[in-house]
């Protein structure tokens, strides 16, 4: 079975000479929920738009279901796109918005309305068929946009930051719904996001991008347990990026696998002495930040572990971890020399 999406050495160069995407290659297997994850300006949206056909490819090839589509118009590719702003047509009611692609193809009125109603039902909005987009909430608008994209029966649905405009509560519900739809329809979703939490929750395949390149493409678990570079470790969050105890390169250690030892205790295995700089109670865990010679490091302690031996800011403590939890990182050009840590709960 061919891959739903295959990018071969795809580059996007803009007229000004700026290179947004630098020769990336990627294979997305059939019926995969794939998230393109990275900070703004990493090339994830350009990549999505090249798959959609809304952006020309400077060099390289885009294949969909084994078919070369690099120079085909968007509607001839078997993709459908859901825009960040939803881009619902403000002068058409929900039903006509959803039926738009059928109308363009000349499907008779009665038939296209029936099909559109079917897809509105799929997103649980048939009651709102005759409403204008302006009369709907953000979440409802998004579901209409989803129905409008799905009615074209795409092989691949492309979503550009679909959840960023929603409030946190709706975001969570919509996330579940997207995953459910992808599973039920058995098609691939390619979802652009800057939220590692979203990517973790949804993906079968996480593609982490940095500076126009793919730094890691793997399952969420692989990405979290074995981040490829310091950039990935920091972006995914929940890791301490520290100089390797052997003195060669950097390592990542999950903050939740770190423990604190008193300064006078004998410590076997890798460790790093420091001073407690902050203690944050977060319910199930307590976040303890240490100022160390290698910069700030964090231990996420289960609350019972913390309360068994509480520390306070100013206390001396040793961060300790097991050899098995330590993971060597490949060098990446953007790595700063100083070891820092990204907070798993601070990620937007």
């Amino acid at each position: 079975m061919p891959h739903d999406v295959e990018l071969v050495n795809v580059t996007k160069r803009y007229g000004s000479g700026a290179v947004a995407v630098k020769g990336i290659s990627l294979r997305i297997p059939a019926a995969t929920y794939c998230c393109l994850l990275g900070p703004s300006g990493c090339g994830k949206t350009s990549t999505l738009r090249m798959i959609a056909g809304h952006e020309s490819v400077s060099s390289g090839s885009v294949l969909l279901a084994g078919r070369e589509v690099t120079d085909l118009p968007p509607a001839k590719r078997g993709t459908a796109m859901m825009f960040q702003s939803y881009a619902l047509f403000p002068h058409l009611d929900c039903l006509d918005n959803v039926a738009f692609s059928l109308k363009m193809r000349g499907v008779p009125k009665a038939e296209r309305r029936a099909r559109a109603l079917h897809f509105l039902k799929l997103v649980d909005l048939e009651r709102y068929a005759s409403r204008l987009p302006a009369q709907l909430s953000g979440g409802q608008q998004q579901r209409v946009a989803l129905a409008r994209a799905l009615i074209t029966e795409p092989r691949v649905l492309l979503l550009d930051e679909p959840l960023s405009a929603l409030d946190p509560f709706l975001r969570g519900r919509m996330r579940e719904e997207l995953k459910r739809l992808q599973r039920e329809l058995g098609i691939s979703f390619v979802h652009v996001t800057h939220s590692q939490e979203e990517a973790m929750a949804l993906s079968d395949l996480v593609v982490v991008m940095e500076g126009g390149e793919i730094v890691q493409a793997a399952s969420p678990r692989d990405v979290f347990e074995r981040p490829a570079t310091a950039f990935v470790a920091r972006f995914i969050g929940g890791h301490n990026v520290l100089p390797a105890p052997a003195g060669d390169g950097t390592v990542a250690v999950r903050a939740d696998r770190c423990r604190l030892r008193p300064p006078d205790a004998e410590t076997y295995g890798p460790h790093l002495p420091g001073t407690v700089s902050a203690v944050e109670y977060q319910g199930p865990v307590v976040r303890v930040a240490l100022a160390t010679a290698a910069g700030e490091a964090v231990a996420m302690l289960p609350d019972d572990v913390f309360h068994a031996a509480p520390v306070a800011p100013g206390d001396a403590a040793v961060l300790a971890w097991s050899e098995d939890d330590m993971h060597a990182l490949a060098p990446s050009p953007s790595d700063a020399a100083a070891a820092t840590l990204t907070d798993p709960l601070a990620a937007a």
């Binding site: 968007p74 459908a80 796109m81 825009f83 881009a87 403000p90 738009f100």
Partner: protein, 273 residues
């Protein structure tokens, strides 16, 4: 608190003065056009009558009211159509940069700055040099377009500034051709603003004076005719003419707004049905 109240009164009074300044002259003419048969060009009113309106339609010693009104309406219609079509097309074109787009834009807008009477003079002389007769439907039309086209284009700029390009991308994504994208998405969304441009073109033409002064040829448009009358007619017929042509302007605006309202109501009915 008291200071804020005082400020409010001052601003309120200022606003009333402003409105008076704006509509006072029109209102004066409106009132005086109903002057009694014995009345003159100024207050006091000597009775109230419609006699001056009746006189308006009788053959005047000077002035061709019906003819000039017809010409003005026709010209305004032509200007309106040309303005809408050309500025819409140009507005679409200017959304992308093209070779010389900056220069072309400044060249277009520059004609707003040139004193209108000079535009009129220039076109008049040009026609003369070419051995052509000036007429309201040729040189007059052209002279008015030098004013309405740049204006229309500027409005289009404002419209497309607020236009979300992802609507077009979405249409393309859903299989619409370029023409379908324009007719099913772009035009319906900007239609109310386009109606505004049309109204603008119409009214700018309808009351244009300086640009038509030296380009209208033998037959006068309404503003030129009215100007001619002011030097010859000394009765309130002039005011009746003013009232009538103002009423006509309001009628055109009302009609356009009504059309938009009907469109919206039809849409709403389709929604509820």
């Amino acid at each position: 608190m008291e200071k804020a109240g005082f400020g409010k009164w001052v601003l309120g009074a200022f606003f009333v003065l402003f409105v008076l300044f704006l509509y006072g002259p029109t209102l004066t003419i409106l009132i005086l056009s109903f002057q009694g048969p014995e009345g003159g060009l100024t207050f006091p009113m000597r009775g109230v009558s419609l006699v001056w309106f009746r006189r308006l339609f009788e053959t005047q010693a000077v002035g061709d009211f019906g003819g000039s009104l017809t010409r003005s309406l026709l010209l305004a219609f032509l200007v309106m159509m040309a303005t809408v079509v050309v500025s819409l097309a140009a507005g679409l074109a200017f959304r992308r940069r093209f070779a010389g787009s900056g220069a072309l834009f400044y060249l277009t807008v520059a004609s707003l700055i040139v004193p209108s009477i000079l535009v009129s003079l220039g076109i008049g002389i040009l026609f003369n040099q070419l051995g052509l007769d000036t007429a309201w439907y040729s040189s007059g039309l052209g002279a008015q377009l030098t004013w309405t086209l740049p204006f229309g284009l500027l409005i289009m700029f404002a419209i497309f500034n607020r236009f979300d390009a992802s609507w077009e991308e979405a249409a393309r994504d859903l299989g619409a051709t370029s023409w379908q994208t324009f007719s099913h998405v772009v035009l319906p969304i900007i239609l109310p603003s386009v109606v505004g441009v049309a109204l603008f073109g119409f009214t700018l033409s309808y009351d244009e004076f300086a640009r038509t002064l030296l380009t209208a040829g033998v037959d006068n448009t309404l503003p030129l005719e009215v100007f001619g009358m002011t030097t010859n007619i000394t009765t309130p017929v002039l005011y009746a003419l003013g009232t009538l042509s103002t009423a006509l302007s309001f009628a055109v605006i009302g009609l356009a707004l009504g059309a938009v309202a009907v469109l919206q109501r039809r849409r709403a009915r389709r929604l509820s049905g």
